[in-house]
Amino acid sequence: MRRVKLLGLCLLILLLSMALVVGCGGNNGNDGGNGGNVEEQEPDEGQEQATVDPNYPDEAITYVIPFDPGGQSDVEARRQQPLLEEILGTSVVVTYKAGGGGAVGWSEMVNAKPDGYTMTGINIPHIILQPLSRDNAGYTTDQIEPVAFFQRTPVGLAVQKDSPFDTLEEFIEYATENPGAVTVGGSGTFSGHHIAAIEFEALTGVTMTYVPFTGAAPQMQAFLGGHVAAVMANSDALVKYEDSMKILAFGGTERFEALPDVPTFIEKGYDMIPSIDRGVGVPPGTPDEYKQVLSDAFMEIANNESLREQMTEQGFVPVAMGIDEAEAYLDAMTKTYTELLESLQ
């Protein structure tokens, strides 16, 4: 009997202490806030429609970055974080779920609760190319619900400073006469750089050797060290290392502000606008009202003058696409890339 009583006492202590912790600590590690009430409003799991809370957001929002800390997506998120907190009136917690070039983070996103309190950074063309090229990326492109796109990083082709090519034509001529001899460095397989190289090969008829690196930093390191002849690189890298390279062409409909002497691919007669776009998405099934709130917040930030200046200075193109524009853009890009990959099969 004594043993049973004691066991009961222990369990009681356990229960009481947990109630205390949860009651005071609140959910998901925010700073107090409304305590444990908010959870009850939404259903426990699945993609059902949650009942809409007019006070949204009233607890901390998690901003998931599907890459390692220190990368470009992280830097952008950090830029936005203080403004987001101000506009949304709640704390925004940046967490990282790196892996598979973003796939791990995105597969978690499509399985997460659509309660409006988790948003994940998304990147085009990654979210399009990964499900197309992998057996099981953990998600499909149409599961992704974009809320905004706020940055474009055009991709350009550059060669070594001491290389014999001064123009795109010379480069193409050499590559045509020596198929496979030109090494082009890029970040990742079936990534923005890779698809840019593929598109280039398809439009010009040349064959190059694409050498994938594990990120933009190793890619540029290999290029600056002279280990690859050319790179399909991000605009910010091109701007940063402008003096150590010759930039032959750039993606865009018009010339890039920071690189006024560089022709665009389109100018040269090749219909390609390679770029990597960054935005934010939410789990499928998130109520439209919540999506709108988030989207408006990001739009406000995207139109913030000083932020736009910072981005442009570092070599990025600020963009402001709200929900509808973002969805249309994603659909259009999906179509383009799907057709491109199919034409190569």
Partner: protein, 145 residues
């Protein structure tokens, strides 16, 4: 001949076979490196197996005088992590620590059960608060917490 060592070597060879098979659909450049490694691994494992058969070394793997405690700990750990998504981090941690603080100790009186439960509660909640609120790690929530 049937020593623990040799059983393990055979196990490793089985792993090599499974790994080799699962690379069937992988492209040439994607499977080159792993295949080389599998060959190297199999090569050395076979050498080890041959040595182990010629000069059997009888290594006891489960021979501690309190070996049962180790198994209890192992099962406890497995239960702990298996239940975590269901019951939540806080509850499972408290249970695990309360049980094992008490179970592993020399003296197992009801009084010590009380002590261990309290200790488990304090430690769990302390670290939980630290990680959830300072390090901002969303620890798993279960159906209760």
């Amino acid at each position: 001949m049937l020593t623990n060592e040799n059983i393990f070597s055979v196990f490793l060879l089985a792993v090599c076979a499974v790994a080799w098979n699962s690379l069937a659909n992988v492209s040439y450049l994607g499977s080159f490196f792993p295949k080389v490694i599998i060959v190297v691994l199999a090569f050395f494992t076979i050498i080890q197996l041959v040595i182990g058969i010629k000069k059997p070394k009888h290594i006891k793997t489960f021979d501690g005088d309190r070996q049962i405690y180790m198994f209890a700990m192992l099962l406890g750990m497995i239960a702990y992590v298996a239940l975590m998504p269901i019951l939540g981090f806080l509850l499972t941690s408290m249970l695990f620590m309360a049980v094992f603080f008490w179970f592993l100790a020399e003296d197992r009186s009801p009084k010590s059960a009380l002590k261990t439960t309290l200790l488990a509660v304090v430690v769990s909640t302390g670290f939980y608060t630290l990680f959830a609120n300072v390090f901002l790690v969303p620890l798993p929530k279960g159906i209760f917490f």
